[in-house]
């Protein structure tokens, strides 16, 4: 089985995710794009595990999932708080701190 298409797909997903972080305004969508980046990495890790013939990459993928879940807990809590305060989840509105 050739692994190249999977690596290519993961690179495309990673790019979509990172471009999304840069261009989207809504904090929730930005956060979803970050999750997409983590999942693209998971795909790459699992594919490389197959290519290298060892399990390290698959185990790493499990850890990344746990980390992503923990990040959701902390991240949504922070986004929720700021949404309740400002009635807006736009990352452009939070602009008191500058220069």
């Amino acid at each position: 089985m050739s692994t190249e298409p999977y690596i290519l797909l993961s690179a495309i997903l990673f790019t979509i995710g990172s471009v999304g972080v840069l261009v989207r305004r809504n904090a929730i969508v930005v956060f979803m794009c970050i999750e997409l980046m983590l999942n693209a990495s998971n795909l790459a890790l699992v594919t490389f595990a197959k290519a290298n013939g060892n399990l390290d990459g698959q185990i790493a993928a499990f850890f990344v999932m746990v980390v992503a879940a923990a990040e959701v807990v902390v991240g949504l809590a922070i986004i929720m708080t700021i949404f309740r305060t400002r009635r807006s989840a736009s990352v452009d509105d939070a602009s008191l701190l500058k220069y």
Binding site: S10, M37, S41, L55, A60, E71, V74, I82, T85, S95
Partner: protein, 528 residues
């Protein structure tokens, strides 16, 4: 079918790390089961006793390390951690910072019997619920376990000997810090904004780290640092993958230390977070991240030195220049210290690109590891002290962080102004302060490593940086106070102890750097 076998865990070497993690868990249980009134004291007591016990443990482990010539120590937990000289040195330093941070977190005299953290983070700013939480004297004592989790993450980060452990450590240290940044009692909008920015940018950078890890794993076929070193030395694989992976991992680590061009979060988070959290975070994150960065670059990518060294040259120069120039333009003391921390990141990277190993260094020359370890000690204590003093200068609206409010502080409170001047002189690197010996160490290491252009820039930016540090001193002593003038709230013994220790460390490390330099030299090199 692959056989699984039980991993061997060397508890004798790892127990301080596990103890600190356990303290975080115990803190969560205390939060759940103890009545509100007694939580603050119990949390502080448990965390402080545990931290001191862990520190004693680290010292004991440090004295009993196996000797392997240039490096001492051993690789434990199936290659996940390396407990060697530098690890033990960094663990000890982190635990000292944690103890000082605990004392600052526990300070309740400045807000009139309340801590610096929000009474109830869920209550909206400016509502009845928030006022009620404040009048009932509520406190978020969760900050103690959160800090213990952050410290355990930092200890993992500093000792990580494979890429997966590195990533887990990075996240365990970051997630509690995101929350802590958002918990300020005063100026809650700024604090929440700081938390949001820190979180989104931090999560973004950790996305880069994990993709970089995947690529390096794909190249080397293993996550272990030693295996990666072997693979780079022997293989004929796809070098593009290795280089992109190395670059992406570097992005994440340089983000954590706040190096230009990944510094954008630093001033915002340092300004918005509660000052006590800033003090802890500024000192401890930098220590842990530099330890992780050195181990990654020296051990895993040691044979790839020629491809990462030019990158670090550039980033060191950019960090020093951009940090110093932007610091001149600041009118907020916390932001100014944040930009100064970016400059210091540049100085630390200058040390990092110095001569690599003891073997390459001549007699009496200082190695890169040694110089960076020493600089981290000096920087950590000065930062803790400086931010602790920022938390004391207050007016009716909380901390008076605008520089104009600091005018005439020398007359109002000579002692506090003198201590702050000492820290500023230390940051500037004036002789007989810790900053001077630290700078001397990193410059000497970079010079003998052949990075003289970086050292020239570093010396020039030191001069520029001295300008804005001394401007604050002039402001404190020679400017007339505007309006009612600044006032210094007398802290309890907790903050005073921290400031006292920081003052002492800044003077002693400046006058007699020998013992700590020897200790850093004794730590030796990173074990493979």
């Amino acid at each position: 079918m692959i056989e699984f076998s039980k991993p061997a865990i060397e508890y004798a070497e790892l127990w301080p790390l596990l103890l600190v993690f356990g303290l975080g868990c115990i803190g969560v249980l205390i939060e759940a089961f103890l009545p509100r009134g007694s939580r603050h004291h119990v949390q502080l007591g448990v965390a402080l006793v545990g931290t001191v016990a862990a520190f004693v443990g680290v010292v004991l482990i440090g004295t009993g390390l196996e000797d392997h010539g240039e490096a001492s120590g051993s690789i434990v937990a199936e290659g996940a951690f390396a407990v060697d000289g530098p690890t033990v040195f960094i663990w000890g330093l982190l635990l000292l910072i944690a103890a000082a941070g605990l004392l600052l977190f526990a300070e309740r005299k400045l807000e009139g019997g309340l801590s610096a953290f929000a009474g109830q983070a869920a209550a909206l700013p400016g509502t009845e619920a928030e006022r009620e939480a404040s009048t009932r004297g509520l406190d978020h004592t969760e900050v103690f376990p959160l800090m213990m989790f952050a410290v355990s993450g930092m200890m993992i980060f500093a000792a990580a000997n494979d890429l997966l452990t590195l990533f887990v450590g990075l996240e365990v240290l970051s997630l509690p810090l995101y929350l802590l940044s958002g918990l300020a009692r005063r100026r809650r909008l700024l604090s929440q904004e700081a938390a949001l920015k820190y979180f989104l940018l931090g999560a973004f950078s950790s996305g880069f780290v994990i993709y970089g890890i995947a690529l390096v794993y794909g190249y080397a076929g293993t996550m272990g640092y030693a295996g990666i070193y072997e693979a780079i030395a022997n293989t004929t694989g796809n070098r593009a993958m290795l280089l992109i992976g190395l670059g992406l991992i570097s992005v994440g680590l340089l983000f954590k230390v706040g190096a230009v061009p990944f510094q954008a979060w630093t001033p915002d988070v340092y300004q918005g977070a509660p000052t006590q959290v800033t003090a802890f975070m500024a000192a401890a994150t930098k220590v842990a991240a530099f330890a992780a960065m050195m181990r990654l670059f020296y051990v895993a990518f040691g044979s790839e030195r020629w491809s990462w060294e030019p990158m670090l040259w550039l980033i060191a120069i950019l960090s020093m220049v951009v940090g110093a120039i932007l610091a001149v333009a600041q009118s907020d003391i916390k932001r100014m210290l944040a930009y100064s921390s970016i400059t210091h990141t540049g100085f630390l990277i200058t040390g990092l690109i110095g001569i690599k190993a003891v073997g390459e260094a001549g007699d009496g020359q200082i190695t890169a590891t040694q110089s960076v370890l020493f600089y981290l000690v000096t920087y950590a204590f000065m930062t803790l002290g400086a931010f602790a003093i920022v938390s004391l200068v207050r007016d009716s609206g909380g901390e008076a962080t605008h520089l104009s409010r600091w005018a005439g502080l020398g007359k109002e409170s000579p002692l506090v102004a003198a201590a702050f001047s000492l820290f500023l002189l230390g940051f500037a690197g004036i002789p007989l302060t810790a900053g001077f010996s630290g700078k001397w160490a990193v410059f000497a290491s970079a010079m003998s490593g052949g990075a003289w252009p970086v050292v020239v820039v570093a010396v020039l930016t030191s001069a520029l940086a001295a300008f804005f540090y001394i401007r604050v001193i002039v402001l404190m002593y020679f400017a007339e106070p505007q309006g009612p003038g600044p006032s210094v709230t007398l802290p309890s013994l907790l903050t005073s102890t921290t400031i006292g220790v920081a003052v002492l460390a800044t003077i002693v490390l400046g006058v007699m750097p020998g013992p700590v330099l020897d200790l850093a030299a004794h730590a030796g090199e990173f074990i493979r």
